[in-house]
Structure formats: structure tokens, C-alpha cells
């Protein structure tokens, strides 16, 4: 199998400054991410999801273990920019990620720092803005845009680096319903175009749309599989402070009523199709 990310026995520890107590945020995680896949990572607050993500693009370096991104080890300082270019990150709050007063300047910021020539930058900026549906807004000031639009600009800034992988850390947490839909549609589209997607989220319905769901708890991976396999374990998931998507919960309750809802039903669309057989 062709993996874009290979994590081998990763441990990440930090010292809390008041009492010098060592906190282990990621505890012996081994994980491969297949090139071109769409992986959702879920887990309660403080389970180590974001720390894991920051270890992937070398914002943090392992205490023990190895992280390889497209063949580059994150400990190799000379590969740092290569790694950040390969695996771009998008964070929760769009306001903290935009640096310029004009949308297209903001998107150009990354490629400029890579030392790419102006003509190519122009091309990349236009392409990226079109990819996220924000080309018409290219001359606007980011602070006048909606949350969903700002988040799409942040994604465009990453796309302009031509990454092979994009890691999104709760990109929809602060967005209104339309903004969430917009961002999820862009993520789906980029995935279709071949970019590997790592989506950290607290929204179970977003995780249900991935190819693979990983659940973290106390720094470890506790479940890993296709959404339908993972969400079939509803009771265990609830014990991890998580939940299952609404259709899974309804399916579970319908089964108790003697209605044989198949286990692969995890999205609203699938549930609607299933019920339509009873018409």
C-alpha cells in the first residue's frame, strides 16, 4: 500500500510549567495514512488529536518515535519546508489564519515564501481561489467575508502550496450551517481531485462522510475502521464522550423495535433510501 504518512510508535510529551509534571499527549501511536484517502479523526477534548496533527507537519517534533511525510522524516530539519508544503494545515479559527488585507494577497503568501516566480504564483492563486469558489471575491478584504468564506480562503492559501495532503483541525467549529456545508463541499472536492484529507472534527455527521474514522482517547488510537464499522460500536463510542450520527442512533432504536435496519446505514441519505423500501 502507498502511504503518504507513516507514523511509527509516536510519543509526544510536554512539561507543564507550574509543576514540571510530564504530560504524555500522544502515547505510542503507530498509524499509516494511505495516499488519496479521506480520514476523519475524532475524540474528546484533550484526547491528543491536535497534537498528533501538529506532529504530522512538524509544528511539533516527536519525543520518541518517527513521523514520515511522503518519505521525509519530520526530524530532518532540511526537509521542513518540503514537509509543510506536502502537508498543509487549516485551523479552527479563520481569523487567526489570514494575514493580508486583500484575499488574493493572502492566498499568495504561502507560494511567495516558497520562492516561486510571480507568473506561477498568479496562476496558482487564481486556480486555488477557483477551487474553493472564491475567485469572484479575490479583491475583497477578508474581514468583510463570512466565516465560511474566510475558512475557504484559508483553505485556498494551503491549496496554493500544491499540497499532497491537507490536515484540517475542526475547520467548521465556528461556522454557521451554510458555512459548514460550503467547507465540507470543498473538502470533498479536493479529496476527489486526489488530495489526501485528514479531518479532525467533533461533528459525527462529518466523520461519517470519510473513508476511514480514527478515534483517539488519552493519546492512543482506540478505534480505526470504516465509518460503518466504527459507528456500529455505539455504546463504546458514547463511553469515549463521543456520539454517533443521528441516523445511526435512529437505526439502533428502530432495531430494538424489531425493524431490521442494515448496519451500513450511517448517513441521512442512506436512511431515507432504506425507509423508502417500505413504501
Amino acid at each position: 500500500m502507498d502511504n503518504i504518512i507513516e507514523i511509527d510508535n509516536l510519543i509526544f510529551e510536554y512539561k507543564r510549567d507550574e509543576d514540571r509534571e510530564v504530560i504524555r499527549a500522544v502515547d505510542q501511536v503507530s498509524l499509516n495514512i494511505e495516499r488519496g484517502s479521506f480520514v476523519a479523526i475524532i475524540g474528546r477534548n484533550g484526547s491528543g488529536k491536535s497534537t498528533l496533527a501538529k506532529n504530522i507537519n512538524a509544528l511539533l517534533l516527536p519525543t520518541f518515535g518517527e513521523v514520515n511525510v511522503d518519505g521525509f522524516n519530520t526530524r530532518d530539519e532540511s526537509a521542513l519546508w518540503k514537509i509543510r508544503q506536502t502537508a498543509g494545515m487549516v485551523f479552527q479559527n479563520p481569523d487567526n489564519q489570514l494575514v493580508s488585507s486583500i484575499v488574493e494577497d493572502d492566498v499568495a503568501f504561502g507560494p511567495e515564501n516558497l520562492g516561486i516566480e510571480p507568473k506561477e504564483i498568479r496562476k496558482r492563486v487564481d486556480e486555488s481561489l477557483k477551487a474553493v469558489g472564491m475567485y469572484e471575491e479575490r479583491m475583497k478584504a477578508p474581514h468583510l467575508l463570512s466565516g465560511g468564506q474566510k475558512q475557504r480562503i484559508a483553505i485556498a492559501g494551503v491549496v496554493a502550496m500544491k499540497p499532497k495532503c491537507i490536515i484540517l483541525d475542526e475547520p467548521t467549529a465556528m461556522l454557521d450551517p451554510k458555512g459548514r456545508d460550503e467547507v465540507m463541499a470543498i473538502i470533498k472536492k479536493l479529496h476527489k481531485e486526489g488530495i489526501t484529507i485528514l479531518l479532525i472534527t467533533h461533528f459525527m455527521d462529518e466523520a461519517a462522510r470519510a473513508d476511514r474514522v480514527i478515534i483517539m482517547d488519552k493519546g492512543c488510537i482506540v478505534m480505526d475502521g470504516q465509518p460503518k464499522q466504527v459507528f456500529a460500536r455505539a455504546d463504546e463510542i458514547r463511553k469515549l464522550s463521543l456520539d454517533v450520527p443521528l441516523p445511526v442512533e435512529l437505526a439502533e432504536r428502530l432495531r430494538q423495535e424489531g425493524i431490521a435496519v442494515p448496519p451500513e446505514i450511517i448517513t441521512a441519505e442512506e436512511m431515507v433510501e432504506f425507509i423508502c423500501q417500505y413504501k
Binding site: 461556522l175 467533533h202 425493524i259 425507509i275 413504501k279
Partner: protein, 287 residues
């Protein structure tokens, strides 16, 4: 006590080239003890509106009468307003600053000039009300707590002021599903025990449908819709046009109705959807 908002208008950067009308003739009433949800897409004016309610912003024109005081009048003491109207901002845990949970929650009541005994009593009460154990965490640093716990401590700091009106701006954003559920239940409990007016600003339609008595829908600085959750969420097309959505359960049941099922209107919660699904699926099973 009730709140009467009349013809509230607010203009940002008035007279400058980029002047923008954030609120335009906003009028609504909130009855004593009512639980109100405010929804609207980003930039619809929700935050501007709630900042007027506790006097952080002054309107261009219009009035806000809380109880019998018009808080937009110049002679009103801001301190008195803020004591009566508690506002919990987005990500309130970023505002924690004290060395212990106790001291953080005590900050507000201490500034009210209460005696130490009164302050201590309020702190203990508030911490217990947000579902935390005072004996366990009172003397701990707020920064050692989990994300959900920090948020509760921050909310306790506002509760300890005993506000007559409690406004919460996206109180569950960024929380994991369990913490999300716990914070919602906490808000419900606070509302039920304090019997105060509670105003919840949220992008989460499921939460709004489950909790509130009345929904205000804002769009372009105006109140676009107002009614019970059932009334508001029965207008799917209108909401969609405003960039809003339905609660997940309502959305799924609408899809089934569109596919020809005879499904009751106005389904809001998972429980209601379940009952309806059993009703339409069971006869088939038996037959």
C-alpha cells in the same frame, strides 16, 4: 421582568466610506422567564444585537427597556446594567485568568462590593450549579481543567453575578459531543432554577429546537422571523435562503415526506422522529 426592544438601529463607521448598517429597526419582546434562541448566519447582526442588550454598544436610535429602565439612556450606570445582564462570550474560557477556580469565579461578585461571606457563598453555589464539584476543584488552577470544565468555570463566573438575564453566545462551539450535551443540560438547569431570561445564540439548530421557547431569526440586521421552534423550523425554504438549516431530525423527515411518506409536520427532535418512523414502518413489519 421583561425586555422590550424597540426600533433599534446601529450603524458601524457612520459617515465613513465603509459605513455599514448592522441593525435596522429591530423590535422584539422577551417575557419574564422566557428562553429565547437567536439564529442567523455570520454577519446577520446577532452579536451586535446582544452587545446592545448589556450596554457594550449604544444604538444610533431606538430603545431597550429592561424591567422599567431604558438602558440606552445616558443617565444609566453601565455597572448596574452589566450586573443585571450577564453575557457569556464565545470561547469564554480564554478569559480565565486567576490562580484558582474560586478566585476566578469570585472576581465579578467581589467587584459588586459584597462581603467575603456573600462572595464565597455565591462562588460555591455557582460552581455547583454549572455541574462541578467545588470541594474538588475550588482551589485548583482553572488552566489544569479539561476544555468542557474550563468553559463551565467561565460560565460560573457570570452566574455568580446572579444576572436577571443570561446571554450565551455559542456556548458549545468546539466542545466534544459529551461536553456539548453536558453544557446544554447545565444551561437548561440554570434556566430552570434561576428562572431568569436566557438568550442562547447558536448555529446549532438541534440545540435551539430542543431548548428554547421562542426563536428570533436575524438576517441583514433585521428580525426576519419570530416564533416557536415549530413555527420557525416549518419554513425550510425561507431558512435555507438565509443560509440557515433545519434540525437534523426535521431535515430527514422532510426528505421522507418529499418521497411520498405521510409524515406529520413539525418534527424537531430525534425522539419525535423516532416515534414517527416507528409509526410508518411498523405496520409493514406486522403485515
Amino acid at each position: 421582568m421583561s425586555i422590550q426592544v424597540r426600533d433599534l438601529t446601529h450603524i458601524y463607521s457612520e459617515g465613513l466610506p465603509y459605513e455599514s448598517v448592522a441593525l435596522k429597526d429591530v423590535s422584539f419582546s422577551i417575557e419574564d422567564g422566557e428562553f429565547v434562541g437567536v439564529i442567523g448566519h455570520t454577519g446577520s447582526g446577532k452579536s451586535t444585537m446582544i452587545q446592545h442588550l448589556n450596554g457594550l454598544l449604544k444604538p444610533r436610535s431606538g430603545s431597550i427597556t429592561i424591567g422599567d429602565v431604558d438602558i440606552t439612556k445616558g443617565n444609566v450606570l453601565m455597572r448596574d446594567i452589566r450586573r443585571r445582564i450577564g453575557l457569556v462570550f464565545q470561547y469564554p474560557e480564554y478569559q480565565l485568568f486567576e490562580e484558582t477556580v474560586h478566585r476566578d469565579v469570585a472576581f465579578g461578585p467581589t467587584n459588586l462590593g459584597l462581603t467575603k461571606e456573600e462572595v464565597d457563598q455565591r462562588v460555591i453555589e455557582a460552581i455547583n450549579l454549572v455541574g462541578l464539584d467545588y470541594d474538588e476543584i475550588g482551589e485548583r488552577s482553572p488552566f489544569e481543567l479539561s476544555g468542557g470544565q474550563k468553559r463551565r468555570v467561565a460560565i460560573a463566573g457570570v452566574i455568580a453575578m446572579k444576572p436577571e438575564v443570561l446571554i450565551l453566545d455559542e456556548p458549545t462551539a468546539g466542545l466534544d459531543p459529551k461536553a456539548h450535551k453536558d453544557v446544554l443540560e447545565m444551561i437548561k438547569k440554570i434556566h430552570e432554577t434561576q428562572k431568569n431570561i436566557t438568550i442562547l445564540v447558536s448555529h446549532n439548530m438541534n440545540d435551539i429546537a430542543k431548548l428554547v421557547d421562542k426563536v428570533l431569526v436575524m438576517e441583514k440586521g433585521r428580525i426576519a422571523m419570530e416564533g416557536t421552534p415549530r413555527q420557525v423550523f416549518s419554513q425550510a425554504q425561507k431558512l435555507k435562503k438565509m443560509g440557515l438549516a433545519l434540525p437534523q431530525a426535521s431535515d430527514m423527515m422532510n426528505k421522507l415526506r418529499n418521497r411520498g411518506f405521510d409524515i406529520k409536520e413539525g418534527i424537531l427532535t430525534n425522539d419525535e422522529a423516532f416515534v414517527e418512523l416507528v409509526r410508518i414502518l411498523k405496520p409493514d413489519i406486522k403485515g
